[in-house]
Symmetry: C2
Subunit: 168 residues, 2 copies
């Protein structure tokens, strides 16, 4: 659903072909969303069949034909619905990354601390990366801020856990 919203939203701005969409997402939005090529092609196909988008073929030289998609009015309506739904709603996030913490006590404290310090380094690295990302236009910046906020939260929680372990 979210990837459909993503593709629709981008196609609302301007018509694009599959490769181009994937390229754009992969190089401009990699910090907060991702989509693989086969998924993109598959969704475009499906949404075309549903009448949300239409395609026109574009031939340039001897290259493979581009299938350039643009939104239909049905697609526009769908986009509006999806967008509102997405913004007004929130469903609990799971953090499968952290399942191991349930069993922290199974490990000798010293080893646990060592492992967690490694994790801390990883998260710090990601945080740095997110923070040094070039500023994005408009609402995309919100998404980057979100990543940063969440990574900071993750980090501060982790530091808390580590220091509680060190107290013992």
């Amino acid at each position: 659903m979210e990837r459909e919203l993503l593709l629709l939203g981008l196609l609302k701005r301007e018509q694009m072909h599959g490769y181009q969409l994937h390229e754009f997402i992969d190089s401009n939005m990699q910090t907060c969303v991702d989509i693989k090529k086969p998924t993109a092609y598959y969704l475009l196909d499906k949404m075309e069949q549903q009448g949300l988008i239409t395609r026109k073929e574009e031939k340039e030289g001897n290259r493979p034909t581009r299938r350039v998609y643009s939104m239909t009015t049905t697609g526009e309506e769908r986009f509006q619905t999806l967008l509102r739904q997405n913004l007004a709603t929130y469903s609990q996030n799971r953090y499968p990354n952290n399942t191991g913490f349930i069993f922290l006590e199974e490990l000798p404290e010293q080893e646990a601390i060592t492992l967690l310090l490694n994790r801390q380094t990883l998260i710090s690295g990601m945080l740095d990366e997110a923070q040094t990302a070039p500023p994005h236009s408009g609402a995309m910046q919100y998404m980057i801020d979100h990543q940063v906020t969440m990574l900071q939260a993750e980090l501060s929680w982790l530091e808390n856990v580590i220091s509680r372990l060190q107290e013992q």
Copy 2:
């Protein structure tokens, strides 16, 4: 992988049958992990075939036979590996919940604010719930704290977005 770690970790503590595992997870850990019954049964089957756990049948009266699983030494090793890997590692979280924010500008400001206020209420509710959860034993408490931390971060980011919209 994470659910395997979860099941293994619980079976390390004490032998259990599928229904019981699901029950336990569903009623004691619902804030941070979840697993559906068919998934649990499927994984138990698979892990038994891999020799990570063994089962013995337990018959009580005329009820359906329980398949009580307990860990093997191979399972113990696997658990140790998975646990260390999970703790020392971190991979970027995606937040598909928030995809819509990329297109915030497509909406009239007033409406956007209204939608986001609704979302805010939802998150506040979840936060309350997580905070009033009865304290858990040992490391499980870390997981609850994590949920709380993440919800707070989500909320503070959202409030920030809302107030930036209101300034305009």
